[in-house]
């Protein structure tokens, strides 16, 4: 359908080129190119399952025309941790049991990443506001709200770690990263 055009962007830190049509959304081209972490829940920008980060801002990729992404920096869930080396936000979702069917979770995590980059220490109200464009039908949001608060602490302590040489405070342990297990000698 329509005329193909080439879109150049930086995706997860690498320069890539996508073929797209005028009617394609960013979500369309991502999913067609194998980046299926972002999910299609409504295609009208109302559920947030397709949330990715564009030029530092979490956006709903299903209503973002692909043509507008030319030259942009896009980050998707695929850029975060792997199953045995989770990003702290991902680890917080796992450890707080903040997921059930999982369909909303990649979008929820990207929304959280955007929030914590803009506001590293959000209070409960700020978390509820920031996540209000991302629906979840399974959890009632309770454990997700806990996970986001926990993620803020983890990201903050990781930032501290980088500053002081990569050590974990004695009282903490991590899931999925390769920092020192609790009790192990440093």
């Amino acid at each position: 359908m329509g005329t193909d055009m080439e879109i150049d962007l930086t995706l997860n830190g690498e320069a890539v080129a996508f073929q797209a049509t005028r009617s394609d959304s960013l979500l369309d081209v991502l999913r067609q190119s194998g980046y299926t972490g972002a999910k299609r829940g409504c295609n009208t920008g109302d559920c947030g399952f397709c949330t990715v980060i564009v030029d530092g801002e979490p956006i709903k990729s299903c209503i973002e025309p692909a043509i507008r992404i030319d030259g942009a920096e896009v980050e998707t869930i695929e850029n975060l941790g792997s199953q045995d080396d989770l990003h702290p936000i991902q680890a917080a979702f796992v450890d707080n049991a903040a997921l059930q069917c999982g369909f909303c979770i990649p979008g929820m995590i990207m929304r959280t990443k955007g929030l914590l980059e803009a506001n590293p220490d959000p209070d409960d109200e700020e978390i509820r506001d920031a996540l209000s464009g991302n629906l979840c039908r399974c959890t009632g949001y309770e454990k997700i709200l806990d996970a986001v608060a926990d993620a803020a602490d983890r990201v903050a302590s990781e930032t501290d770690m980088v500053a002081d040489g990569g050590q974990v405070p004695d009282s903490q342990s991590c899931t999925g990263c390769d920092c020192y297990p609790t009790g192990e000698s440093r």
Binding site: D46, Q90, F93, V94, F103, T139, G140
Partner: protein
């Protein structure tokens, strides 16, 4: 002794025992099924969900994420009726067929489209629902009936081609209200002669697809006595509930193709792979063995995927296009053309004595099935059968229901399955009775509700024979106490502003654990050399964490850590049989199959261990990845047994356990819902401060997962109370087309949710477990309505509860 026990004695001595009667008094619990907390290793642990890591990394593959695995896959779109009632006189498809990139256009007359009636209800065989649907339809009965479908090279082309198809109709009068639909002059929606309907009481001339009633005691006599007695009070109430959408995160999605063996293979987001396999085979007239249904990661169901909605269209398109086809429902279709919770109108009347004893309960409900009948009788019947057991001591109970067609979207199964509508009516009514007698609503319930050891006969009110269900575990009293403490019942501080009024309300809840006598779960477990196991069950994990719970049950038996139990997802070619994920059955029914299969495997483990340790089998214990001799303390690791079983010098045999489980038992979980609300007496606006649900689900296999079920279901229940409902214009065209038109709570407006798990031990359940998934869906509407009644004195009896309705009621005071 309770009155139901007397009833039970009467039944026993009566001698005429029907097949529905089960003697439930004795239960021979398996030794080792009841464990103290200290004795449990895997059960009751907050084990990480087996798929958690692939979910958070975006690697979990739902049906739509599987397209890359299919060459030449076509995308699909469906043409749906734009009128509410009529007959299609012409379908002009040539413009669509001629478009570049279009592979197939199908209509009701296409050779690949079956032309026999079926039901979409994914139920046991033979399905109790009427066969009243066709894959594609010339007779259209609501805005949304599928008429034609297109397969094309991509989704945009399929949609564009669908828009090129012109349908011409002969339009009929339509009816949108159940009361009007039952009028003899109303348009008739179905013709009796075209439908195989196993349901009782159908009268299609009045648009009734099913009617059922049942009675315990003599209700009319109780009301006659009340009419002439000063000591008996009659209370009458009416209740109304709207449509509710499942808002299922992953839209219904199916990929259908012929595999290299020329078999029909579907990858589909379903709760019922085995029912879909059988129903598709019957519908397309092919052998069951030639159909394979694979369940990938599923983005939740809540009952919406207990219906075979888009699978037949996808398969018919795939046959016509001779290539793999993917059909993915749009959100707009999810809101009007898939399935919904059925609206209901319920009348309740009761007789109560001055000292607070319920003497009679009479409940009649009319449900709106919409245009077709799947789950019509069973879900409408559940509106009475589910909540009435709370008050099974009431000596005289009558319940009747009518399931009625209108030219509106199709109701199906939805989490709670009638119980939310029923609890709204019963628990709202009970509150009014307590109010009339000036008794505290908690005290009144405590005086009349069911308890441990009781015989529940109310859940059998629609059964032909005499029936009883012994309650072997009931934590209702503790649920009330703990929930009441958590919410601060009677302890809320009134706001300073005079126009603000704060109060708590509550409601009891119950459900079942599977459908008694109509379930089958099976499991197979085999040991690897390294001491790990592969567990195959038909349990359909649709996001609940069922696979994780199954791994914990198997691990508890085998002395292995849960992560050493690899659980394979449901696939009809590979997994043992299972009825599927519905009716709160998986943990209770399939969980027992897993427990028994693991016990079978453990017997074999012990045979090898007995040889390796030179000890008799009856002294052996499996725990901490070892098998121990209780006498000598000597042990052998599971890994050593694993290698010995496969590579040993003498006996070589893979350790493989298997079991099937079916049961007539369905122990009810119990719960108490509490709401704390402040109402603005000037505007009717209200703020819910907290929602607490204290629940007895027996032993929670995984408390994290159980709490997640509670909060998620309470969210859905809060939506039914305050945000659900679909709107239609005067022609029956839906106006609720997406999330922005619908009141699904978001983080910004979902009140805090507090789950409290009250442990009891259910001797018939795996390690004492009962169900948890549905019961918390049942009771926010009555608890909120009751709280508002206490706060400002008005009763809101039609959902959703809105500020406008409260204000209107306040103005009438």
């Amino acid at each position: 002794m309770s009155r139901t026990d007397k009833q039970d004695e009467k039944n026993q001595s009566g001698g005429s025992v029907s097949k529905d009667t089960v003697s439930h008094d004795a239960w021979d619990e398996h030794p080792g099924n009841k464990k103290t907390h200290d004795e449990r290793d895997s059960v009751s642990s907050r084990t990480e969900k087996t798929d958690a890591r692939k979910i958070v990394t975006g690697e979990a593959k739902y049906t739509a994420d599987h397209v890359a695995g299919f060459q030449n896959l076509a995308e699909a779109a469906v043409v749906r009726s734009e009128i509410a009632h009529g007959v299609v006189t012409d379908i002009e498809t040539s413009a669509a067929t001629e478009m570049d990139g279009v592979y197939a256009v199908i209509t009701p007359d296409s050779p690949s489209v079956p032309n026999k009636p079926y039901t979409s209800a994914g139920q046991s065989y033979p399905e109790p629902s009427p066969r009243d649907l066709h894959v594609l339809r010339k007779q259209v009965r609501y805005v949304g009936d599928p008429i034609a479908a297109v397969a094309a090279e991509d989704a945009a082309t399929a949609k564009a081609a669908a828009r090129q198809i012109t349908v011409t109709y002969d339009e009929y009068d339509a009816v949108f209200d159940t009361e009007e639909a039952m009028d003899k002059d109303a348009p008739q929606i179905h013709d009796q002669d075209d439908i195989e309907n196993p349901q009782p009481g159908a009268d299609y001339e009045q648009n009734i697809e099913a009617h059922q009633e049942g009675e315990i005691g003599e209700v009319d006599a109780a009301f006659e006595a009340a009419a002439t007695s000063d000591e008996l009070t009659v209370v009458e109430t009416e209740w109304e509930t709207p449509y509710q959408s499942h808002c299922v995160p992953e839209p219904h999605t199916t990929i259908a193709h012929r595999d290299e063996n020329d078999r029909y293979h579907l990858v589909t987001s379903t709760q019922v792979p085995y029912h879909v396999r059988r129903q598709l085979a019957h519908l397309f007239d092919v052998p069951i063995r030639d159909v394979r249904v694979t369940k990938p990661q599923v983005g939740a169901g809540f009952g919406s995927k207990q219906s075979m909605v888009i699978e037949p269209i996808t398969l018919a398109l795939s046959l016509a296009a001779e290539r793999p086809v993917k059909l993915e429902a749009t959100r707009r279709e999810e809101f009007h053309a898939m399935r919904l919770r059925r609206p209901s109108r319920t009348k309740v009347r009761s007789v109560v004595s001055d000292d607070g004893e319920l003497e009679a309960l009479d409940m009649s409900v009319v449900t709106n099935s919409g245009a077709y009948g799947p789950h019509g009788m069973t879900a409408a019947g559940a509106i009475g059968k589910k909540p009435l057991p709370l008050y099974t001591h009431t000596p005289n109970i009558h319940f009747e229901m009518d399931a009625v067609h209108t030219n509106l979207p199709i109701a199906g199964a939805m989490r709670g399955y009638g119980a939310p509508q029923g609890h709204f009516a019963v628990e709202g009514h009970i509150d009014e009775v307590a109010r009339k007698l000036d008794i505290d609503p908690i005290d009144f319930r405590a005086q009349n509700c069911i308890g441990e050891g009781d015989l529940d006969i109310a859940s059998g009110i629609l059964k032909d024979g005499e029936y009883g269900r012994r309650i072997r575990s009931c934590g209702l009293k503790e649920c009330i106490e703990r929930g009441s403490d958590a919410i601060g019942w009677n302890e809320v501080d009134q706001p300073d502003a005079e126009h603000l009024h704060r109060a708590c309300g509550m409601a009891l809840a119950t459900q079942g654990s599977g459908i008694p006598g109509d379930e089958l779960g099976a499991a197979h477990i085999k040991m690897n050399e390294d001491g790990s196991f592969i567990l195959q069950t038909g349990a359909v994990d649709i996001g609940t964490g069922a696979d994780t719970a199954m791994s914990q049950i198997a691990a508890e038996v085998l002395g292995a850590p849960p992560e050493d139990i690899v659980v394979q997802p449901s696939d009809t070619d590979i997994s043992p049989f299972d009825y599927g994920a519905y009716a709160s059955s998986t943990t209770y029914v399939t969980g027992q199959a897993v427990q028994q299969a693991a016990l079978d495997a453990r017997d074999q483990l012990f045979e090898f261990a007995a040889q390796l340790l030179d000890e008799p089998v009856d002294r052996l214990v499996a725990r901490s990845e070892k098998v121990y001799s209780e006498k000598t303390g000597q042990s052998v690791t599971l890994e050593e047994i694993g290698y010995a079983s496969i590579y040993g010098d003498e006996v070589r045999a893979q350790i493989m356990g298997e079991a099937s489980h079916s049961t007539d038992e369905s122990p009810p979980p119990f719960g108490a819902q509490f709401v704390d609300v402040t109402v603005d007496g000037r505007t009717g606006e209200f703020e819910v401060h907290d929602l607490v649900f204290a629940v007895d689900c027996g032993v929670a296999i995984n408390p994290d997962l159980a709490e997640g079920q509670v909060t998620g279901a309470m969210h859905m229940s809060y939506e039914l109370a305050t945000g659900a409902d679909l709107s239609f214009d005067d022609d029956g065209t839906p106006e609720t087309l997406g999330f922005r038109h619908y009141g699904m709570p978001r983080t910004s407006d979902q009140p805090p949710l507090t789950p409290i798990l009250i442990e009891t031990h259910e001797p018939t359940g795996p390690f004492g477990a009962k169900s948890i998934a549905e019961i918390p869906t049942n009771a926010v509407p009555p608890a909120l309505s009751n709280a508002i009644r206490r706060a400002v004195g008005v009763r809101i009896s039609d959902l959703p509860i809105t500020a406008e309705k409260i204000k209107t009621a306040l103005n009438k005071q």
